[in-house]
Point group: C2
Chain length 217, copies 2
């Protein structure tokens, strides 16, 4: 992560590895250029086949400005472990990361409904089938954006290993402190009765390894 | 997170809130502009007073190109919960996010040693005091970069709430699935003897809430 364009062994060239990384996370940073300056904002996203779905409010001026054809990069990173060497120089991090580069396109209102369902189901699998459909008013208030995944338009880097060999005699401790993100017990909204059944999609999500960390090799 | 320049109630104006968000995470996305195009890469970072420390290899061409004076934005986001409304439109996410905008400066070799210690201690508190100092060779191979935190140069947004009021009669379940990131049992490197003592800094880190999620209000 700290050595850009370095460590070619950390680069993954198979498209399936890109999908694995993108599908394991839910938040990325969308970066683009506005008036020659870098513009970056965290966004929920989902991969839907060969595109990435993003959304925001049609009232969000900056997003509207970048939605139509602007060159953009979506950057996703998960920190999977702190790599502790016997010195700071060889200490590192285990991670999975992806950058997808391309041009943003705003979806039409008709295209948005399916894309928003895909986005929702990526966050909470199966949720879109449990609730009513989008209303026209909701779709009119939502700006749905796609970033196509194209050949040569993405980079995946993964580090999943112990520290490199010891700099000393190997007598000092070295290793990895693994990190993982887990979902906890659902917390009902204040107005929800205690005997209201929790939706199946939410039950599946609860106590899952939401962003599944990988074990060091 | 999905409504940029919207939801002013989610914006935090106190500098202390920025520090809280920055100090709770360890990975951000550094965005800048290279040849007019967006350039984004995930990086380990640490806040050190009024600056953010980043580092990479001096062999990383792109990083060297942006290190001296380029306008940049560092974006940090933590997903703290999935907010489940009784419809998709009002579903959301709880999160903490920050964007710091400014101009990158490359540190001198002398300045780098302290900055790298600060970076290391942010990842593993107390670690720099347990290991030998940086060698000249290591410092020569490391590009250390600072991004100053200036008044007006940052934005913090936090959502930490249940879903908005129900769109129906309130009879359907709605609530939050909390997410948190935890550190697990340290995994020794293959060459480390089983009876080698684990450093105090690593023991403190293990089983901690590494990136501490906040409970919904």
């Amino acid at each position: 992560m700290d050595k850009i364009n370095r460590h070619p062994e950390r680069s993954m060239l198979e498209r399936s590895r890109l999908d694995e990384v993108l599908d394991a996370a839910a938040v990325g940073t969308l970066a683009t250029v506005v008036d020659g300056m870098p513009w970056a904002v965290p966004m929920l996203y989902a991969r839907d086949g060969d595109r990435i779905i993003l959304h925001g409010s049609t009232g969000a001026g900056a997003l509207r400005q970048v939605a139509a054809g602007a060159p953009a990069a979506l950057c996703v990173a998960m920190l999977d472990g702190i790599v502790v060497a016997d010195n700071l120089f060889n200490s590192s991090a285990n991670y999975r990361s992806a950058v997808v580069r391309g041009h943003l396109t705003a979806l039409t209102r008709d295209e948005s409904a399916d894309a928003l369902n895909a986005l929702s189901d990526a966050l909470i699998p199966g949720r879109s089938a449990e609730v009513r459909g989008h209303t026209k008013k909701e779709l009119a208030a939502t700006l749905t954006i796609a970033l196509p995944i194209t050949a040569g338009g993405w980079t995946v880097k993964v580090r999943n290993a112990p520290p490199s060999a010891p700099s000393g005699d190997g007598g000092a401790w070295a290793g990895v402190v693994p990190l993982r993100t887990v979902a906890g017990t659902p917390i009902p909204a204040p107005w929800v009765d205690g005997d209201t059944p929790v939706p199946a999609s939410v039950l599946r999500l609860a106590h899952s390894g939401y962003v599944t960390a990988i074990a060091p090799a």
